[in-house]
Amino acid sequence: MITLTSTLFFYFYRPSEMHRNKRQNTNEIMKFLVCISKAPDTTTKISFTDNSTKFNNDKVQFIINPYDEWYALVRAIELKEKLGGTVTVLNVGAADNEAIIRKALAIGADDAVRIDAEPDDALFVASQIAQHVKSETYDIVLCGKETIDYNGSEVGGMIAGFLDWTFVSLATSLELNGNTATLNREIAGGHEVIELTTPFVLSAAKGMAEARIPNMRGIMAARTKPIKVISPVSAEKFSSIVSYELPKEKSGVKLISPEHPDELVNLLQNEAKVI
């Protein structure tokens, strides 16, 4: 009777502990979830429409956000190849995001989930992802450290906040031994080596892996890999972008003769006042 009550207590009050124990006992395979975002190619000339209230999509080439692809996705695939497991990619976005999802599948993810909603508020996106994670049994959720369009660094931490899972930000390496993970992460003024057990959420930074180019076999295989489309749950959107502008152009460069570097020093001191 006592055992039963305490088991029940655990069941009701410590769902994440339960989850962990289950994995330890049954030696199940690792399930990785990699969150990918769509971003304009880095060479994009940024412009706006509708009286500078909307980003101009016209002729923009979209890619998988580099941090998501090069580091989070590739590291998950490497670990799966080494230790076994599954890699699912998840994107919150409209149907035309399938091109980038297929690319992630071509690089080596097993399957994909697309949550059919506009990803225009980070807390909204994170609550969609957290809801999906709750309905599955993922061990590690990987995000890129930020997107190169809105540079938010938000979604990973928010998912962790919603799930009450530990958040490891700016991870530059990830190794696994059973359900114990060893990570390197960047901190103010250096980096540190940490250890924790699954489940957790991480944001991946440079160093975690090297970008991979999908090969022909991967591209062929990606065509038939499943993309599950799910409807969003209701969640509030707390932020919006009301307008955009381009930064002020520089007024033009002042050239200094290479023979007179002291002239540059003088300008930096007396005109720009920065030294």
């Binding site: 938010g152 660094s153 931490g157 958040f167 003024g189 707390f238 381009l246 520089k250 002291d262 020093v265």
Partner: protein, 323 residues
């Protein structure tokens, strides 16, 4: 209602960005007719905590607890959440730094708060709706964000809104909160030995592939030493391991916005500019007068770095010894 500012410290002292955040929070509090309080989670001497009052904090709370020695975003978010509730704070301010980036989103989920990750100026208000500007597309554009939520989190981009001293005096209070146990074990901490951190530096000396090889970085480091600057590099330089990848700046590396950015032997590709064009003053040294970087520069020298940089270093040295 009040404004709470998380002040970041490293090894027991505050960085410039901490004073900027307090001053920013105090000015927002004044906008909406309330007070700003500051919270530090490291073991900091009281007189240093008091110094935050000069930037407008009414109360400065510190929590001296050994469990906060190691950084854990969830633990910090939980503690800040409790303090925010105790002080009825509806706006929480962070600096957009390593720890701010990690704690703020966890807290946003816990508080159910809307968030602006990287404000660059003071907000404007229309009723309870707040609007503030933020850099987007890695500095290629600026967007005005509106927050409609009752609770709000703003991460302030360092070196965008200067700290202002006030006549204000603050009281230091210790606050009682439960500190949850961290699930992270820290095995090893590696400090970037005495070097000036790139994202905090007022001056950055950066070099690219034009330097021909890692053996030629002596003159770059010398310039950084003379000026008290941090060193940075372009992406290919980090990719071919001439320099550590922590120095890689640009759209896929660090974003920096120092007062002075000196670019030597860097062409100025769009991806590089994206991470550095928030710098107040840009100096470009390149032997190719057509290098695109000159278009984004304030001052330029067209010339061979191997000739120009040693001469410029002499001129900087002369200037430094004169002041």
């Amino acid at each position: 209602m009040s404004v709470l500012v998380f002040v970041e410290s490293t090894n027991g002292s505050f960085k410039k960005s901490a004073f900027e955040a307090v001053s920013y929070g105090a000015r927002i509090a004044a906008q909406i007719g309330t007070e700003a309080h500051a919270v530090a989670l490291e073991n900091i001497p009281d007189d240093m905590l008091k110094s935050l009052g000069e930037y407008g904090a009414s109360k400065v709370c510190s929590i001296k607890n050994d469990s906060l020695k190691n950084f854990d975003a969830n633990v910090f978010a939980s503690v800040i959440n409790d303090i925010a509730a105790k002080l009825s704070a509806t706006i929480v301010i962070f600096s957009m730094s390593y720890s701010g980036k990690a704690i703020a989103p966890v807290l946003a989920a816990k508080m159910n708060a809307g968030m602006v990750p990287g404000a660059i100026d003071l907000p404007k208000w229309e009723g309870s709706e707040m609007k503030v500007n933020k850099n987007v597309f890695s500095g290629k554009a600026i967007a005005t964000y509106a927050l409609h939520s009752e609770k709000k989190i703003i991460c302030l981009t360092p070196n965008t809104v200067a700290a202002e001293k006030t006549e204000n005096k603050s009281s230091v209070e210790s606050i009682d909160v439960t500190v949850p146990v961290s699930k992270i074990t820290v095995k090893e901490v590696v400090k970037a030995g005495g070097k000036i951190s790139l994202t905090d530096a007022d001056i950055v000396v950066s070099a690219g592939r034009g330097m021909k090889g890692p053996e030629n970085w002596g003159m770059i480091e010398e310039m950084a030493n003379i000026l008290g600057a941090a060193t940075a590099c372009s992406r290919p330089v980090a990719d071919i391991h001439w320099r550590p990848h922590e120095e890689h700046v640009g759209q896929t590396g660090l974003t920096v916005r120092p007062n002075l950015y000196i670019a030597i032997g860097i062409s100025g590709a769009i991806q590089h500019l994206a991470g550095v064009n928030g710098s107040k003053v840009i100096v470009v040294i390149n032997k190719d007068p057509e290098a695109p970087f000159f278009k984004a520069a304030d001052y330029g020298i067209v010339g061979d770095a191997f000739e120009v940089v040693p001469k410029l270093n002499e001129a900087f040295k002369k200037f430094k010894s004169a002041v």
